[in-house]
């Protein structure tokens, strides 16, 4: 039989390894996780707002929405996958790629597209000297929001603060 002190020490070690320290992040309920990720895509920063990270939510909203609006103001173009019967993929791949990057900004893209912003035909839009700058900022907004969505998921899953 082990002495009493040794037994206590062994048990303490066993439970310390398995228990979650008080200040460690914990996972949110599944409904809140789903809401956070969905809202994070729709409105930049909204996912963090749902998880109680107000400061970061405001920073993400201002930065990503600002980049998107700035890009539109510089005559950037909102891409939609264009059918191309001659391509093996049946779509012009570069438009699919641009569309994927831009749709990351969620409602910014959808609302602007529906309202007709940034949808001028490409030859007409490309005549603007700031066309490529505009595209770059719109793409930046979409890609950064993908990163923010992943961050919201990590926080919701308890992987980070």
């Amino acid at each position: 039989m082990q002495p009493r002190d040794a037994l206590t020490e062994n048990l303490a070690t066993h439970f310390t390894d398995r228990s979650i320290p008080y200040n460690e992040p914990r996972p949110f309920p599944i409904a809140r996780r789903t809401a956070a990720v969905t809202l994070a895509w729709l409105v930049p920063g909204a996912g963090h707002l749902v998880l109680g990270k107000r400061g970061r939510a405001l920073i993400f909203f201002l930065t990503i929405t600002g980049a998107f609006v700035f890009g539109l103001g510089l005559n950037g173009h909102l891409y939609w996958p264009t059918p191309d019967p001659t391509a093996s993929f049946r779509f012009d791949l570069i438009t699919v790629l641009w569309f994927f990057t831009q749709i990351g900004s969620g409602l910014c893209y959808v609302v602007s597209y529906v309202m007709g912003f940034g949808t001028a035909p490409i030859p007409q839009a490309a005549a603007s000297p700031t066309f490529e700058y505009g595209n770059t900022f719109i793409i930046l907004a979409g890609l950064l929001n993908y990163l923010v969505i992943h961050d919201a998921f990590d926080i919701a899953a308890g992987r980070k603060r």
Partner: protein
């Protein structure tokens, strides 16, 4: 114009990348990390432009 656009791009990217950095726990660490990213963007951009300038195509 181009440097201004590059700076704005670097600033926006640096703000978000610093805010999502999992290794920074305090605001000070995040700000320092953001400044490093901003400087890296600008520095690498300027070096690349200097290296690529003589290439004719």
């Amino acid at each position: 114009m181009h440097v201004l656009m590059m700076s704005m791009y670097a600033a926006m990217a640096a703000v978000v990348l610093a805010a999502v950095d999992p290794k920074s726990d305090t605001t000070r660490q995040r700000v320092l990390h953001g400044l490093k990213i901003f400087g890296s963007f600008l520095g690498i951009g300027l070096i690349l432009s200097w290296v690529l300038f003589p290439i004719p195509w």
